[in-house]
């Protein structure tokens, strides 16, 4: 029995004749939602960037031989001392080779695994960079560079030169940017490296690598796997690390455990390696949402106030409407309709403004040495935040409208008309 045409007509007339209040209330919602969209887009963009910065450098599963003492010392196996208490001082790590045993068969097995996107062998070597009489300690990582480029964003981090240039060079090196700066070296120059055992090799700089994390860039360089094997004087099956990228990252943990058992090797999955990072991300998200919700609640109170005032002003009108046959529900709908129109208009306008501001931020220059691939502030355009934004606009205006409109519903027309 509700005649929506009439109700919406009255609501519209109220809104239009009180244009100032309507505009204020609408702008309240608009700013709330706009700020929410901007905040969320910017913060999640920033989060994603920081995540990528660290997580993309981290394989989903990392296989290597860990240097550690044997878990059961020989004396524990000796049955005569079974019930005795043993003290063994100065336990040394187990004599163990650094290379992964049977690396090539393991790689072949992994490459055929259905959940593996790719597996790359790495050879980490401790070396010294020689610059005149100065020796700088560091790492040289032998990699299958094209495979690495396919599986990670490594290519983005090569600020000069290219992955392909390394591949096609027999004795090339991708020098860490911090090292290049320290030794005043540039692409095309030569750098001498010395192994722990003292052998010296000249390498040609075919590119500069900058991860954005200074600790890495100051010590680490990349070369082809066979180059490093040659430097160390090892054979083609000498591999110290295997990095695995999975198709389904959620399976990294159980898979790491099963690989550990299967190959008797240390396997670290991505969550284990970056537990603290996850925490940071979730705390940042929490802050974003707390601030946004506060903004929206403030906007909601604005609507509540304005509708309350409007109803106070319209007491007489409400009494007349009721006297001429409008029910309490009808009157409530009239004011609810106003709230919802304000919410919808303000919400949509807020989405547009939020999008505009995020776009503006997206195009603001943001140059930093730490992040070679980033030129502008990162922004994440996620349809979900827009849906949440408009839903919250409608929800908050609904609540802000419901309470005053419920009051309007209960107004006793006789009291108003008789002036008591």
């Amino acid at each position: 029995m509700t005649n929506w045409n009439v109700i919406l007509g009255i609501a519209k007339t109220h809104l239009v004749t009180k244009m100032k209040s309507t505009a204020t209330a609408t702008l309240g919602v608009t700013f709330g939602i706009g700020a929410y969209i901007t905040m969320v887009s910017f913060m999640t963009g920033l989060n994603t960037m920081l995540d990528d910065l660290v997580l993309n450098q981290t394989p989903h599963i990392h296989l290597y031989n860990e240097i550690r003492p044997s878990e059961t010392q020989p004396i524990s196996r000796y049955q005569d001392f079974e019930n005795a208490l043993n003290f063994v001082h100065s336990i040394k790590p187990k004599q163990n080779q650094e290379k992964i045993h049977n690396a090539l068969p393991i790689l072949n097995y992994l490459k055929k695994h259905p959940n593996v996107k790719g597996a790359t062998p790495q050879l980490r070597a401790q070396i010294f960079y020689l610059s005149g009489s100065i020796e700088l300690g560091g790492n040289l990582v032998g990699v299958d560079i094209l495979e690495e480029a396919r599986l990670s964003n490594m290519e983005d981090n090569i600020v000069q030169g290219s992955a392909r240039a390394l591949k096609s060079s027999n004795n090339g090196i991708l020098l860490g940017s911090g090292l290049a700066k320290k030794m005043s070296l540039d692409i095309g120059d030569r750098v001498q490296v010395s192994t722990v055992s003292g052998d010296i090799f000249p390498l040609k700089i075919v590119g500069v690598y900058q991860s954005g994390i200074a600790e890495i860039d100051n010590v680490q360089s990349f070369a082809n796997l066979n180059t490093v094997q040659r430097i160390l004087g090892e054979s083609a099956n000498y591999v110290t690390d295997i990095n695995i990228k999975l198709l389904d990252i959620l399976k990294s943990e159980p898979m790491a455990r099963s690989l550990e058992k299967q190959f008797n090797i240390k396997a670290v999955d991505i969550n284990e390696a970056n537990a603290q990072f996850e925490t940071g991300t979730s705390v940042r998200n929490l802050i974003t949402y707390a601030v946004s919700i506060t903004l929206l609640i403030v906007a909601g109170f604005g609507i509540y106030n304005i509708l309350n005032m409007l109803i106070y002003e319209k007491m007489k009108d409400i009494a007349i409407l009721k006297a001429t046959g409008f029910s309490g529900k009808d009157v409530q709908y009239i004011f609810m309709a106003q709230a919802m129109i304000i919410g919808l208009a303000g919400g949509i306008l807020g989405l547009v403004i939020g999008f505009g501001l995020s776009h503006l931020i997206d195009n603001t220059p943001f140059e930093t040495d730490a992040l070679p691939t980033i030129n502008t502030y990162p922004v994440n355009y996620n349809i979900n935040s827009y849906l949440i934004g408009i839903s919250f606009a409608l929800l908050s205006t609904f609540i802000a409208g419901y309470l005053p409109s419920n009051k309007a519903k209960k107004i006793d027309p006789v009291k108003i008309i008789r002036g008591t």
């Binding site: 009439v6 007339t13 007489k316 409407l321 009721k322 006297a323 046959g325």
Partner: protein, 225 residues
């Protein structure tokens, strides 16, 4: 006994600030086509009675019949509809919706009733306004016409759904003698030409004397009818 509106043993108490028996065993009826006025001193309960009869006030005991149908104790929603369809109400102060045009004000109760098409409602509204000689004001804002005109617009609004009875709470109380005369004549014509039943609370003795019947109230009781 063909009553349009009939009250049987209506009793009402005001509970605040302390219990006060404002209406005592009120029983009377308004016949179809009758022009009845209620008189009484301030505080005699005549307005209170009118608001009970108008179904807006439901806090009373006793039975109220409209067109021989019991309407006491019906839910608010239904009362709203009864009010909308069967009862026209004119207040002492004109009480138009000031943001709407005169025509919209008149049309509103009919739009709510939604028994006729919009075109028909608009034609009816124009017709009512013409009948009260204010057709030329149809598209004016309700806040921009004179007091006498406003009262006539209010009467047009009360008539738009062709109600069974028209009630007035001192409809001339706020008007000068010329406009009062005007309103009285309108009521008289409505009764004569359309057989409308009218029930008007008034202070104005001249007004009351010219109605068909005067109900006099004192201290919450009918002392003469």
């Amino acid at each position: 006994m063909n009553f349009v509106l009939e009250a049987k043993k209506i009793n009402k108490h005001f509970h605040k600030p302390k219990d006060f028996h404002v209406l005592k065993d009120i029983s009377f009826g308004v016949r179809s086509g009758e022009f009845v006025s209620i008189m009484g001193k301030s505080g005699s309960g005549k307005s209170t009675l009118l608001y009970i009869l108008s179904t807006m006030d439901t806090d009373y005991t006793g039975d109220l019949y409209l067109n021989d149908q019991l309407i006491s104790g019906k839910p608010q929603k239904e009362l709203s509809r009864i009010r909308n369809k069967n009862i026209g109400f004119v207040f002492q102060f004109h009480y138009l919706l000031s943001e709407f045009s005169v025509l919209e004000n008149v049309m509103l109760p009919a739009k709510k009733l939604a028994e006729k098409s919009l075109v028909e409602i608009e034609r009816n509204a124009h017709q009512k306004l013409e009948m009260l000689h204010i057709g030329h004001l149809a598209h004016q804002k309700a806040s921009r016409i004179s007091g006498g005109e406003k009262q006539r617009v209010a009467i047009a609004r009360a008539l738009i759904n062709d109600p069974a009875i028209l009630m007035g709470d001192e409809p001339t109380g706020n008007l000068d003698s010329h406009n009062s005369e005007n309103v009285f004549n309108i009521f008289k014509n409505l009764k004569k030409e359309q057989g409308l039943s009218l029930l008007v609370v008034t202070h104005d003795e001249d007004f009351a004397k010219r109605t068909d019947r005067i109900i006099e109230m004192e201290d919450g009781m009918i002392i003469h009818q």
